[in-house]
Symmetry: C2
Subunit: 139 residues, 2 copies
DNA sequence: AATTATATGCGAATAATTTGCATTAGTCAA
DNA sequence: TTGACTAATGCAAATTATTCGCATATAATT
C-alpha cells in the first residue's frame, strides 16, 4: 500500500487506520511530539481514534522499535519516529528542537567498554543551548 | 549547619527539614531515584513530609539547579543531585545505572556550534547496554 | 465469504500530579 | 529574643494522565 503500512506490517502488527495515522504524524513531523500533539494531529487527519487507542499504539510502536520516547527538560515525554540515529539540539529560549546527525562518540563508547566492562548497545545524547536566531535577540 | 543546608540556603531557599531530607536522600544515593524512591527514603529518615511537599521541593530544586531530571527507557522520571557533570550507563538487563564521568564530546559540541550556529550550554548523554556482571549470565 | 485473533471504542478505574487555602515555621531586623 | 513578614507545609480535593475490562468491529488468512 504505502510506506507506513509496510513499516507497520513488517513488525507483525495489523495495519489499521489509527496506526497509519499515528505513524504518519510522527514521520511527517520535523520535531518530536508530545502525546497531546500526536492526538491533535491525528484528529486533524480526520482519523478518529480514541485516545486510549493512541496510547496503546505508541506503546506498540516503541516495543517494535518504530518509535522512540524522549525527554528533554520538561516534565513530559516526547515521541519521534525512529529514522536514523541522531541527536537533538534543544533551544532553551524558543524550544526549537533541531536534529544533529553527526555523532562521533564511538571512541568514547569503546573507552567505557574497556574501563567499565559495560557493553554499549546504544546511547542518547541531547544538547541544550541557544539556537542561531535566538542568539541575535536581546534576552 | 551542614553541607545540605548551605546548598539550600545558597540558592535563596529556606532551610527546612523536608528540604534537607530530600537533598540528602538524593546526594546519598549512588544512582538516580524516581519519585517513589525519594518519598520512601525520606520516610525512612523519619522526616514526615507530605508527598505534595516533596513534589514541590523537587521542582524547587530543579529550578535552582540543585537537582536534575532524567529519563531513561521507562515511562517515568528519575532525579539526581547535580554534582559534577557526568553521564550514565544503564544496563538493559538488570537496570543498574552507573556513572560515567569521562566525557570527551567537547569537540563534537564545537562542531555543532560551527555548522549549525547553535550555542551549546550543556548536554545529556546516556548509554544503554549490558553491564559487566550481566554479560556473564546466560540470557 | 467464513474464521479467528487482534485492535478499537467506550466508560470507568487507577495513578500521578497539582492546587487552594489555612496553618506553621524560617528569616531578618530591631 | 522577639516580632513581623513571607515562604513553606499539610491536608483534602481537584485535575490530569494513563490504563483497563470487555463488548464490538475489523484486519488477515483460508
Amino acid at each position: 500500500m504505502n510506506i507506513f503500512s509496510d513499516a507497520i506490517r513488517s513488525k507483525g502488527l495489523r495495519v489499521t487506520p489509527a496506526r497509519i495515522a499515528v505513524l504518519s504524524v510522527l514521520e511527517d513531523s520535523e520535531h518530536p511530539l508530545d502525546i497531546t500533539g500526536i492526538i491533535s494531529k491525528v484528529i486533524k487527519l480526520k482519523v478518529d481514534a480514541d485516545q486510549a487507542t493512541i496510547y496503546r499504539i505508541i506503546e506498540n510502536f516503541i516495543d517494535k522499535d518504530l518509535v522512540k520516547r524522549l525527554q528533554f527538560r520538561e516534565k513530559k515525554f516526547y515521541y519521534e519516529a525512529k529514522r536514523y540515529d541522531h541527536h537533538h539540539a534543544i533551544c532553551e529560549k524558543c524550544g526549537k528542537i533541531d536534529d544533529i546527525s553527526n555523532c562521533s562518540i564511538d571512541r568514547v563508547e569503546r573507552e567505557i567498554e574497556r574501563t567499565k566492562g559495560f557493553k554499549v548497545k546504544s546511547h542518547s545524547l541531547e544538547y541544550f543551548g541557544t539556537c542561531k536566531s535566538c542568539q541575535t535577540l536581546i534576552s
